[in-house]
Amino acid sequence: MRVARVRMRMRKPVGSEGRQERGGRAGAGAVVVVGAGPAGVAAAVCAADQGVRVVLVDSAVRAGGQFYRQPDARWGARRPQVLHHGWRTWQRLTARLDAHLADGQVTHLAERHVWFVERAGGDGFVVHALGGSGQDRPETVRGDAVLLATGAYEKVLPFPGWTLPGVVTAGGAQAMLKGGLVLPPGRTVVVAGTGPLLMPVAAGLAAAGARVGALIESAGPGRLAWGAAKVAGHPAKLAEGARYAAALVWRGVPVRTGHAVVAAHGSVRLEAVTVAALDAEGRVRAGTGRRIACDALAVGHGLLPHTGLAGALGCRIEETAYGGWGVAVDGEQRTDLPGVWAAGEASGVGGAELALAEGEIAGRSIAARLRGREPDRRGCAAAAGTRAGLRAFARVIDGVYGPPAQWAERVGDDTVVCRCEEVPASAVRSAVAGLGATDLRSVKLLTRAGMGWCQGRVCAPGVAGVAGCAWSPASRVLAQPVPLAVLAREEGAAP
């Protein structure tokens, strides 16, 4: 470990082309953790506790990921914890992280965007990132192992009017709140879609002074009651839900389950939404449409894992046993590629607490495996138990929530389904009906839907729904756009 640390400190000077290389030849015992959310930080701390050198690479200014997102220090927020539960757990974890940052066991490279993880031919991994305000300063980090803790992003399905200014994602609204931004008073926000994120978002917006016009959840009361019965074994989770529900009642926020926003209206920007009740098949009940005037609509349909880096590395990506997709992992959070671990939402969406447990297991496994040992089962037992319970909980959540089955029928032909390339639903439908497209890739090739800047990250689930074909995480070779000149630069000689 000493050797590795010394090498870590022998940083190469900034080259004539601005390239920086960090991590040195890390030798035995260095891991690069991609993502400083709950899973990445938990893993970094646990691995560092056992003497492993850790380089934590993350795109944000501060550690925390989406869940424990903290206001920029410049905002001077005094009580960030009001927006988070489990804040104390996080504080304890960050205290341990700070100690490792201080003693040099962990290096935190903030504001770095990882675009590719390269297998260095049996000789560890090279993580390629972009830094700088323009995301154009190349940087590489070497490690003997890599943990992909890349988190999740929000799934948004199209509906007429969804591209109007004023329509934001539920997660985006929450991120703005956690980032310390405050809504102008008196504005009305409607929160809609499906999933456990909607309640905290609505409660948070109300607490921040917004008038929340309604919370529209497409899951019906029957599903919700079934879910509540199923999670009786998770009293803390039930209490958390009850707390949010009580907060919404107290703030006078109307909650409509079994309803959906079927259209957003406005000429220049959002002015109103139409909300309607859904029948058991997910179709709109005739005559139930009601218009709600609003200034903003926060909409989300659950989370999808970031699997791009894993896919480009060649890791297997599969449907998890507890719903949705994720990087395939074993009991130690190892992927099918030796030297690569995955934890948190990247290996299956299940929330911050599950991410913490998975991160701990991954960190312990990495520390043991880098020394050629089996991980200590007893040391991992508590985290493994927590993980099993939370995955069972995630499975129930997956059964309760989910977009109404017939949502794609409500997407009008002229509704833009891919915003980057401005592809209307009609183009997707005629590619299927007239041109022989039968899967998401051929729909993309024949319509350009998903070929733009976001590379289908936003639109792919919506396009798949409108096309009537299955969605699965696309295999992308670059996790984010890279300037050609950065790609063109030849790999520098390893130190």
């Binding site: 024949l446 070779v477 300037p483 000149a485 790999e491």
Partner: protein
């Protein structure tokens, strides 16, 4: 693409045609291509003759139907091959002279003319050759719209259906009786093998040896750029040598071109690594470096995606086209390597001529499917 063209010309010739694909339309190599319709990279010989015929057929197709021209993003943009040093330029000139004798329009341009043809080219280039006949289509759209036209002419499209056997008669020289698929039997006196990289497998199902192999290529796609940032298909003189090369090692010579939709495409590396789908950073770095070398302005442009494909090639780099003398009723249209989009129309036309018993417009001797011998007991 080649299968789409075969179905199109067969249906137009009045044949009852069924087009079977294991995936969707344009799901294989077609969907990973650039859409090159090139004569500029071809030496005089049978492939050049096929390319010239194909270009003429493409031109006729889009002239007959202006809607199709737009739909497939057909652009007669011309190719521009550039040389970076005087020695390379002399070799390029000599190559162009031989091509001219083979019927190719090739115009020598000097350094100053290069600048007016492509204002964003690197100023240090010595000169080049302009090939006005080179064209471009969007390959997936080209295949899909030819399939649509074939269906209009009566062809039946069956996607997501895997051919599991080629049915042959017990006697009668083992005549082809049709195919068995994952969904049942299709009876037909003739079967056209246009299975691209799977062409060898379909041939083997019929008992014929056809050594189709994959040659991997990467293509980089930039963010959309203003129109006419790159006006022609621009590539370095080294590309021609790479296309013809027998080496298994990585070769790159970037072909840079704009597209109707805005992004610039940068292709294409050539590697023989089997069907390895792993992204290769060295291959992509070389492509990027060459592209920036040709067009320094691209340095700051973001690459938003990259894709890879497998070109189906045969050992002598010529496709297999026409009836297979070993299996009556079996016809081949595969092994076009990286030129399948461009050569599809000629191939489809020649195959259709063979199917209806006409004398093919071109001599198919160089493309004979049985030219690689039997190898295994077929």
């Amino acid at each position: 693409m080649v299968g789409a063209a075969c179905a199109f010309y067969a249906a137009r010739a009045g044949l009852r045609t069924v087009l079977v694909d294991r995936g969707p339309v344009a799901g294989g190599t077609t969907g990973a291509g650039e859409g090159n319709l090139l004569v500029s990279d071809k030496e005089p010989g049978p492939e050049l003759e096929l390319a010239l015929l194909s270009l003429e057929l493409w031109r006729r197709l889009v002239a007959e139907d202006p809607g199709l021209r737009t739909a497939v993003e057909y652009e007669a943009k011309g190719g521009l091959v550039v040389g970076s040093e005087y020695a390379g330029l002399a070799a390029l000139e000599e190559f162009a002279a031989r091509q001219r004798a083979g019927g190719v329009a090739a115009v020598g341009v000097d350094a100053s003319e290069l600048r007016s043809l492509e204002p964003n080219l690197d100023g240090g280039l010595a000169g080049g050759v302009l090939y006005p006949q080179d064209c471009q289509v969007m390959p997936a759209l080209a295949a899909a719209h030819l399939v649509r036209e074939a269906r209009r002419a009566g062809a039946v499209l069956r996607t997501g259906e895997v051919v599991t056997a080629v049915r042959r008669a017990a006697g009668d020289g083992g005549r082809v009786l049709g195919v068995r698929t994952s969904r049942g039997d299709i009876h037909a006196p003739a079967v056209v093998n246009a299975a691209g990289t799977w062409g060898g497998e379909i041939a083997a199902l019929a008992g014929a040896h056809l050594p189709v192999l994959p040659r991997r290529g990467f293509v980089l796609v930039t963010e959309p750029l203003p129109p006419r940032t790159v006006r022609h298909k621009v590539y370095s003189a080294d590309y021609v040598a790479d296309v013809a090369s027998d080496s298994a090692a990585l070769q790159t010579s970037a072909v840079v071109e704009g597209t109707a939709a805005g992004p610039v495409l940068i292709g294409a590396s050539r590697e023989r690594v089997g069907f390895d789908r792993t992204f290769s950073l060295p291959a992509v770095r070389r492509l990027a470096a060459q592209a920036v070398g040709l067009f320094p302005v691209l340095g700051r442009v973001g690459v938003v995606r990259g894709y890879l494909g497998f070109r189906p090639y045969l050992p002598d780099h010529l496709p297999a086209i026409g009836p297979d003398a070993r299996v009556p009723g079996l016809h081949h249209a595969c092994g076009h390597e990286g030129a399948g989009i461009g050569l599809a129309t000629g191939t489809g036309h020649l195959v259709a001529q063979g199917l209806i018993g006409e004398v093919p417009e071109l001599d198919l001797a160089a493309f004979r499917p049985d030219r690689f011998g039997a190898e295994e007991s077929g």
